[in-house]
């Protein structure tokens, strides 16, 4: 992550979408391609302005398919590249994401989730958890999934996303929802003047013209018997490495808690308030908030399950992360669920009622 000095720290009021865009610029992103879709249009507009100010490239693509494939090209040529969209658009990008993984190309993809299935509507939701954490496109793969729950964290995780993408040569998904994208919050660490920061990651594999070196080839196609299996094994070793090193989560009041809420993103903010309210009523509630959805923090849930804690998974969908919590708890701790989808947001009172009835 970029070290920030005190004099860089300036508090501003900013939307999540704009914070993510600014983070990309400060992370050295020089290429953005996107297609308009609500509720992430502010991000596209922000990138349009900032790319022209910083000498980068902004392209409003003809489609989501074209946008992700432009990102593929820019990344193949060695640039830090990103695209952003919302759920239906992310479905269209899955072809490109699968190719990015197959070709081991870094890229950052922002998904400000909206409610589905189909066209759904533009209200916030977390219905794309399965799609984001299980690969999403064809083939056997994973993408790193970062799930911020505040504008400040969105800014920081977006910068981290570029670093992780380059480090592992794998796409990283920043998974938010319409609420995070649209809401304004005070944010520290926003440098009004772009510093021209560029990560000096060497990319000797990039296609930049074979001057004074052997030609580079970027491919995911391996026809010879056994070669594709070897390529897949290599990818799997990389995923195992990511699972070992990159798990991130936040734990709150879990030590003495009888019931642990598990929630991420926007709804975890509601759960934070619930923990405080419940404790004032004398109910010992804690919170585990996964920050990386893949790799999922199975370890902490498993450890708490060993202590006979009960889990209440809260999501803005009908039970997707629930499956990971159940896998992690291995039947040792009771797991219950409360969620609302289609734009519905679990309310504090609803969650407290669920806790009381546990």
């Amino acid at each position: 992550m970029i070290p920030m000095t005190n004099k860089d720290l300036k508090k501003v009021l900013i939307t999540g979408n704009e914070a993510i865009g600014e983070a990309a610029i400060q992370a050295g992103c020089t290429f953005y391609a996107g297609y308009p879709i609500t509720p992430q249009n502010e991000l596209t507009a922000y990138m349009s302005r900032r790319m022209s100010e910083t000498g980068g490239t902004f392209i409003q693509a003809e489609s989501e398919l074209a946008a992700i494939n432009m990102v593929f090209g820019a990344s193949a040529a060695g640039a830090r590249a990103m695209t952003s969209s919302s759920s239906p658009g992310i479905s269209l990008k899955q072809e490109g994401i699968s190719y990015l993984v197959g070709c081991e190309l870094p890229a950052v993809i922002v998904n400000m989730m909206r409610a589905g299935p189909g066209l759904g509507n533009i209200t916030p939701a977390q219905g794309d958890y399965f799609q984001a954490t299980r690969g999403g496109g064809h083939g056997d793969y994973r993408t790193i999934v970062l799930a911020p729950n505040s504008v400040q964290e969105a800014f920081e995780l977006q910068i981290l996303a570029f670093d992780l993408a380059d480090k592992y040569r794998n796409p990283v998904i920043l998974l938010g929802d319409g609420t995070l994208g649209q809401m304004m919050e005070p944010m520290a660490g926003y440098r009004l003047q772009a510093t021209g920061y560029r990560l000096k990651t060497k990319k000797p594999w990039a296609v930049t013209g074979c001057k004074e070196r052997e030609p580079n080839v970027i491919r995911s196609l391996f026809l010879k018997e056994g070669v594709l299996e070897e390529h897949n094994k290599k990818l799997q070793r990389k995923f195992a490495e990511i699972e070992k090193r990159e798990i991130r989560y936040e734990e709150k009041n879990t030590e003495d808690a009888e019931i642990i809420l598990v929630a991420y993103g926007t709804v975890s903010r509601i759960c934070q308030a619930v923990v405080e309210k419940a404790r004032r009523k004398g109910i010992k509630v804690g919170l585990v908030r996964p920050i990386t959805l893949w790799p999922f923090p199975y370890g902490i849930v498993n450890k708490l399950a060993d202590l006979k804690k009960k889990f209440l998974v809260i999501e803005m969908n009908y039970g997707q992360m629930l499956e990971d919590v159940k896998l992690a708890a291995e039947g040792k701790g009771k797991v219950k669920f409360y969620g609302r989808g289609g734009g519905g947001i679990p309310q504090e009172e609803e969650i407290i009622k669920k806790i009381s009835n546990f």
């Binding site: 003809e62 074209a66 432009m70 593929f72 193949a76 040529a77």
Partner: protein, 247 residues
């Protein structure tokens, strides 16, 4: 076809390996012509190629310069990303008719319309080769394929797509020519067109495309010699050769 055979002067841009193409296939000729042009222009170390999905999917095994693959139909988008990042490099796509004129129509039209400063080599053999001879967007009216058993019927299958004429309408395009690989003379012209396409890009003039009528004896069920004749007798009457646009 091997690079060494009957070739005293080695082509640096072409790897010295055996190609997988069928006897009489046009890809071998088109690959070689592109490599000869790259050598002659002295741009091998600046070239970045984008390979298609189709029979030429492993073109990077034959070309001796930087190449990336692209998903089916997406080379113009991938090339756009590359060229915008590496503006002083020479970027080209090599696409078949299924890739460019069917699944990738949106990408080619918008890439051309943006006036991206890239070169496109479009192999039109009026059929899907790799998947076993199905109808292509450029399959001729009445032409029999695996999916048009009684011949392409315009009422059912629509008309063969004229890509050059379509793209020539767009103000973003600079140079468009249709050539054929059906005779020594036509092959020489094809090479001249490829060189001009690269030169258009080198001079920063903008988008260039060369459509190459190319034989597919295997799926046309013809001998290599008959296939060449079929291009001259059947294809060129619907897809006329020549410069379509030169601004």
């Amino acid at each position: 076809m091997s690079n060494k055979k009957n070739n005293k002067q080695k082509i640096k841009s072409l790897r010295d390996v055996r190609m997988h193409y069928c006897p009489g296939c046009g890809h071998t000729i088109a690959h070689r012509l592109i490599c000869e042009v790259i050598d002659e222009l002295g741009i091998r170390e600046k070239v970045i190629g984008v390979a298609p999905v189709g029979c030429a999917v492993i073109a990077y095994d034959y070309w001796n310069f930087d190449v990336t693959e692209a998903a089916h139909g997406r080379p113009p988008a991938v090339a756009t990303g590359i060229k915008r990042v590496e503006r002083d490099k020479i970027v080209f796509t090599y696409q078949g008719d299924g890739d460019l004129a069917s699944i990738g129509t949106a990408e080619i039209i918008h890439c051309a319309n943006r006036g991206e400063n890239i070169s496109v080599f479009f192999i039109n053999n009026a059929i899907y080769g790799m998947t076993g001879g199905q109808m292509a967007p450029t399959t001729l009216i009445g032409q029999k394929t695996a999916t048009t058993l009684t011949g392409r019927d315009i009422k059912r299958d629509g008309y063969p797509l004229k890509v050059c004429e379509l793209l020539a309408l767009l103000p973003g395009t600079r140079y468009i020519e249709r050539v054929a690989l059906s005779s020594a003379e036509n092959i020489r012209q094809a090479k001249r067109a490829m060189k001009k396409a690269f030169q258009t890009q080198i001079e920063n003039k903008g988008f260039s495309l060369v459509e190459i009528l190319s034989p597919c004896p295997t799926n046309w069920r013809l001998s290599p010699a008959e296939a060449m004749k079929w291009i001259d007798e059947k294809m060129t009457s619907y897809f006329p050769l020549g410069v379509v646009k030169d601004d």
